[in-house]
Symmetry: C2
């Protein structure tokens, strides 16, 4: 509490809004992990009702009065006001009916997508997708007020970013990624990990790895989901994973990835709990955490040495050295599925989705032509023909839940992770040795201290720049990839 | 939709309120089944925020205007208005701050109780219990407006019931129950079921029994909880159970009991979904469903014959005939735990709680003296000394979550179940034969058709009277108990 009555009232009102928003988020978690199959329509109504409540609170006219009369006590207080104002201005541009309709339709659409994917039937999904796109375009038009529709959506996930600046960065990255890809694919691939890895043992390993990465089970849990995600914040941030018995890396790296997301939320300064500062600042910065946990740390030479020992003690397989295991973890090959892609291919998946979804939002591409456009582009970029929709246009949940403008934040996250990894290695001596013993404490402490604890205090780019001590750019990521895969493949 | 604009507006507003209330209920489910242990305080804030929203909606002044201008289309419409008015009048008597405070305190108190029970420490629970009682008394004073505090609380769970009428009924029941108890205990008890019954196999049986009782898993699920409960309605009503490896009856009859509750909710006329009519009409009627599933059907000679076969095919144990198994299921013995009590003792547990909680609400008994009062009364009624608080005053969750006035509805439910059982047997020829083959369809159909589908259309007593064709009273239950246990014990 401060001596400033208006500020205190605002923050108390906002605290309840944040709590309600976490309730809505947990409904989403429940839908993906626990909800009975026949409850989808009712859940849509529940989500719409929650969105109605949240929208009314975010547009409450008292917010402006309170902000006007507020004398925030410190820098954090001023940042709170900035974020509340941003949310108010965004929410007031979108009619409540539209916001509720979007919540209801995307909740139901998720089930329609899952069923269509299971049936490998694009046609089953198209009417729903068309409705989601129409609603998001309508929302974007409200938000953009004459400006670019896609930028208006992107701004939800990455404040301050524009499609133009991201497109330009992708343009600089693409030639070096394509060159790296071609050089690697010209070489003989290392041996892959082959075997059957039982579900129960994978889930035990998943739990142990989450602990190794400092995940706090007193404020979280792991469940199974078709499409792994993390959810929640403050004292309750949960992760999900999945198990493929022939490919334990799927479970292992899904888990580590989601632990990165959840740990970011759980490591934010407790003073910011249930305030706007108490959440990760943007999806790009969020992804930088999940990706650095997963890739730079989790798929690095150091940590895979530890992981090799863990795997050897739990499973039977052929790879006879930590070095061979490290090579298998980082095996490069064109594959259909983004979430299973190696680090060389991953960003090419994103660039393709970025171009397609911009065309969808602009109206240059209709859902009827989407599958053909996807397959054509995939063949061009990856040299492989998509063999079924679940390996192609139906693979990702994002568009079904209306997440247009979200995909580029994955590559932005990789770029930020590249910067953070460079800075962390300069700051933490002997890091690889520690990681090879499964000791992530110095790495995680560095991330928490320099980045995670600040939550939404600074802008996304400032957040990275302050942690690294330099302005973020794609350079460090590309150098990291070229060095790592150059060494692995003898380029 | 009707031609009546005010009525349609009211029902549309109410539909969202019902959806939000189901969201709050699901938060409660999550708290008992999924929530990480460190999230209790945050959950308290979330529950309070939801209660704030619900209270504001239940007291929205437009409700009165809409009711005034409404011309409901039919009998159901008039019943909807009656229930909305009832909720409005109740909610407007309680200040929002108090309603939110109660939601927050009882959410956290539940965890405090669970911990105190695990530690067998009454002292750990008393300050919290005192706070819960003080808040509920304050609420009762708002509701009673000079009338009896306990009646005001009871009315939440059993509209139209009074402590006086229930007390009088208990007074009529007690001598016959005590006489039956004494006669039975003077006889040699039948052999008990002895063995180890693995958790996984118990859970599989639990699932199969839920199916045998018609539980719809596409709109529900089973999880484990310390204190079994059912939760939700319409397209999502979930149950919980528990497993004691030495006593499979615990899991079996917890499951069947909760299936009774959830099936009631799931079998209500779909036209009433997300309306006030779409919920079970009272806790007493609810309990009549769970108890008739559990006892009259589940512990009956017919169904236990089927269950014996199921048990024999899954587990190793000594009882050599369905008749011996039926006797073991219905073994009468004084025990500490209400939820494990046989049908002869069960209502004596309730009568004791009814007297104690009335004294707490009146202020005649303070929390400091509660444990002693419990133990003294228990010895008097059951002839056994309570050996530890978790076997005594700490055994039930109810008081921690503020459920004062709830306990008597359990015995009311037993009384109603006695009436329904008499009527069902008159209406369904060959019932015992069907149940002995595990075929519950006629029994469940009779309950759905005559009672469950009506939801909140009629008052609780009318609901029972219409289903039975006669006014409910304690007579049929007592006759059923005397006949059943008379035969079992050769009285």
């Amino acid at each position: 509490m401060t001596n400033n009555h208006a500020y205190d009232q605002l923050m108390s009102f906002q605290r309840q809004t944040e709590a309600l928003s976490l309730v809505a988020e947990r409904l989403g978690w429940d839908q993906e992990t626990m909800m009975p199959s026949g409850s989808a329509d009712q859940r849509g109504e529940e989500m719409a009702a929650m969105e109605g409540i949240l929208h009314a609170r975010r547009t409450d006219p008292r917010i402006l009065d309170w902000i006007e009369a507020s004398d925030p006590p410190d820098v954090a207080g001023r940042a709170q006001l900035r974020l509340i104002m941003r949310s108010y201005q965004r929410a007031t541009k979108v009619p409540s009916d539209l916001a509720q309709k979007l919540a209801q339709v995307t909740s139901v659409a998720q089930g329609v997508w899952a069923q269509a994917r299971a049936n490998d039937s694009v046609a089953d999904f198209l009417p729903t997708l068309a409705e989601v796109i129409a609603l998001r375009r309508e929302e974007a038009a409200c938000l953009a007020q004459g400006g670019d529709l896609y930028d208006a959506l992107l701004d939800d996930y990455e404040p301050g970013a524009t499609a133009e600046s991201i497109g330009a960065m992708f343009g600089r990255m693409r030639p070096r990624l394509v060159a790296l890809r071609e050089a690697v694919l010209a070489k003989m691939p290392p041996a892959a990990l082959v075997g059957r890895f039982g579900e129960a043992a994978q889930l035990r390993l998943s739990r142990d790895l989450a602990l190794a990465f400092g995940y706090d089970f007193s404020r979280g849990r792991i469940d199974l989901a078709v499409h792994p995600f993390s959810s929640g914040s403050a004292s309750d941030s949960r992760i999900t994973t999945r198990v493929v018995e022939s490919d334990p890396f799927n479970c292992i790296y899904s888990t580590i990835h989601e632990v990165g997301h959840s740990s970011y939320e759980l490591n934010i300064d407790p003073d910011y709990k249930l305030t706007p500062l108490g959440r990760g600042v943007s999806m790009g910065v969020h992804e930088s955490q999940s990706r650095i946990y997963e890739n730079q740390i989790g798929r690095g030479r150091g940590f895979t040495k530890f992981l090799y020992g863990e795997m050897k003690s739990r499973f039977d397989f052929d790879l006879a050295s930590a070095e061979a295991f490290y090579a298998a973890v980082n095996r490069v090959q064109p594959g259909f599925i983004r979430t299973e892609a190696d680090e060389v291919h991953y960003n090419l998946h994103i660039m393709m989705r970025f171009d397609l979804e911009r065309a969808l939002v602009r109206g240059d591409l209709t859902v009827v032509d989407l599958e053909a456009a996807w397959n054509e582009r995939f063949f061009k970029d990856f040299g492989v023909k998509v063999d079924r929709p679940s390996h192609g246009v139906l693979q990702d949940v994002h568009w079904s839940v209306g997440l247009f403008g979200y995909f580029p934040t994955y590559t932005l996250g990789n770029v930020y992770a590249g910067c953070l990894w460079q800075a962390m290695n300069a700051a933490v001596p002997g890091l690889e040795g520690q990681l090879s013993r499964g000791d992530t404490a110095s790495a995680i402490d560095w991330l928490r201290e320099n980045l995670q604890r600040h939550g939404g205090l600074n802008s996304p780019r400032e957040t990275i720049a302050l942690a690294c001590g330099f302005e973020p750019s794609e350079g460090p990521l590309l150098e990291y990839l070229e060095a790592k895969f150059g060494a692995l493949y003898g380029l």
